[in-house]
């Protein structure tokens, strides 16, 4: 059922032509530096039952990943954001674990695209 690519090539291509290769590479570096700590915040917030921080972290991940066309990853982060907003953290453990795994995939995909330019 999930045939959607990790990164939508059209969105990514548009981003590349808009900002240029050099800046895009910088942007990917920034994303890969900034995102793991935010995922850390998300996991900590989950452990502490802090729904507000959870929601904000998910929101941030959703929004920055969307810039690269990381559609499924961004959608998963959005699901988490909604659950956080509803203060419904009881059953998000699996989804958070999936987000962590998907992040690994996403980072690899971005690095490949970064070096392909």
């Amino acid at each position: 059922m999930n045939t959607e690519p990790i990164i939508n090539p059209d969105t990514f291509g548009a981003l590349r032509s808009m900002v240029g290769d050099e800046f895009l590479s910088e942007l990917i570096d920034t994303f890969c530096t900034e995102t793991p700590p935010i995922i850390g915040d998300l996991q900590r917030a989950l452990a502490e039952g802090d729904a507000d921080t959870f929601r904000r972290a998910a929101h941030s991940i959703k929004s920055s990943s969307a810039n690269f066309g990381a559609v499924p990853f961004s959608a998963l982060a959005r699901e988490l954001e909604i659950l956080g907003r509803e203060h419904n953290l009881a059953q998000v453990g699996d989804k958070v674990a999936r987000l962590v795994a998907d992040y690994g995939q996403l980072e690899r995909a971005l690095r490949e695209l970064q070096h392909a330019s």
């Binding site: 969105t11 981003l15 808009m18 900002v19 800046f23 910088e26 942007l27 920034t30 994303f31 900034e34 929601r55 904000r56 929101h59 941030s60 959703k62 929004s63 920055s64 969307a66 810039n67 959005r78």
Partner: protein, 353 residues
């Protein structure tokens, strides 16, 4: 429409807690010729906004510290910041929040990820609107007084008046028609401009506001639209300075073989009705009422008694002992049923402070 003109470049502030978003927006804006500064949260944004001037803010809604709503709220309560246009940057599914922001005063919104073409269009439209508003404000500043401009900014424009305790002053040039007939129109306008410049300085220097200039006459108010302490004394000190200025100006005129001018000043204090009069298209801040009429009558009466400054009893009672006044007796003035006690203020006196 501004389509034909070169894109306006501005000093923009990007507020977003996510660094990727900040960098990307900043890059797009710089590519469009703008100067960009950044803030990571609402608190930082307000600090930066208060420290330097900006033409536009791109504001994220969900942020730690102060969020977008709180920033907007503080902006619209800040007289110096509330006119900076704010464009919200939000996710598509946050449109409810965006609507709330627009109700709170945000100018427009963009959904993230931001499309460069929409970004350009919205930024340019906002900057153009801001430019027009700034121009308007500049016009208000030029054609109204600083006090009126401030009052307009604080209370917004509304026709409608209120009672205010104030001191009204009228000043007029004596035999102006004769002077105007004796010289060229250009010289007459020059003369009026010099006269107004000197009178404005003397009046504003003592806290008064010139709110009407008609031909060779002017009307000034002390105590409206903003309250003023010791307004009676200040108005009389302004009148004395005006006479001094006219004397100096007269010497200058004579040295150039031009006519000397003389003025008469009438001052009255009490309740006035203050407000914007006119239509929604064209209005002026003015004061009306008995006190204002009395000041005008006193000004006219200066010709009768041959004293250049006349004041009413209320104003006289508001003076400190340092200013000399001379009773001119009760006078029957046009339009007044009762006689009015009138005082002259000798010109050239040394005011003891």
């Amino acid at each position: 429409m501004p389509r034909e003109t070169a894109p306006i470049s501005g000093h923009l502030l990007v507020v977003d807690d996510n660094k990727v978003n900040r960098l990307l927006l900043g890059r797009s804006l710089e590519q469009q010729g703008h100067r960009v500064a950044f803030a990571e949260n609402g608190r930082q944004a307000l600090e930066v906004l208060r420290a330097q001037p900006f033409d536009l803010v791109l504001l994220d809604i969900q942020m730690p510290e102060l969020d977008g709503f709180q920033v907007l709220e503080q902006l619209c309560h800040d007289l110096h910041l509330r006119d900076i246009p704010v464009i919200m940057t939000s996710a598509l599914e946050e449109l409810d929040s965006v609507a709330r922001c627009i109700e709170m005063g945000a100018e427009d919104y963009l959904t993230k990820p931001v499309n460069a073409i929409l970004l350009r269009a919205r930024i340019n439209a906002s900057l153009e609107k801001k430019r027009l508003r700034d121009q308007q404000r500049e016009l208000v500043r030029k054609f109204a007084t600083a006090e009126v401009a401030e009052d307009l900014q604080a209370s917004g424009f509304s026709l409608g008046g209120k009672f205010v305790e104030a001191t009204a002053m009228f000043s007029d040039i004596r035999s102006f028609t004769t002077i105007a007939e004796s010289q060229s129109p250009a010289d007459t306008i020059d003369l009026l401009n010099d006269y107004y410049t000197l009178m404005f300085e003397a009046i504003a220097g003592h806290g008064g506001v010139v709110n009407q200039m008609v031909g060779d006459g002017l009307m000034a108010i002390f105590g409206a639209p903003l309250p003023l302490q010791n307004r009676c004394e200040r108005s009389v000190l302004a009148a004395l300075e005006m006479m001094e200025m006219i004397e100096l100006f007269g010497c200058e005129q004579e040295a150039q073989s031009k006519p000397r001018i003389r003025i008469g000043i009438g001052i009255a204090s009490g309740e006035v009705i203050a407000g914007y009069t006119g239509t929604l298209r064209r209005a002026t801040y003015t004061c009306v009422g008995d006190t204002v009429n009395l000041a005008a009558r006193l000004e006219a009466h200066t010709k009768v008694v041959g004293e250049p400054i006349l004041i009413d009893e209320t104003t006289q009672q508001g003076l400190s002992s340092g200013i000399e006044t001379v009773p001119q007796g009760p006078v029957q003035l046009k339009g007044k049923t009762d006689e009015v006690r009138v005082f002259s203020v000798p010109v050239g006196q040394k005011v003891r402070r």
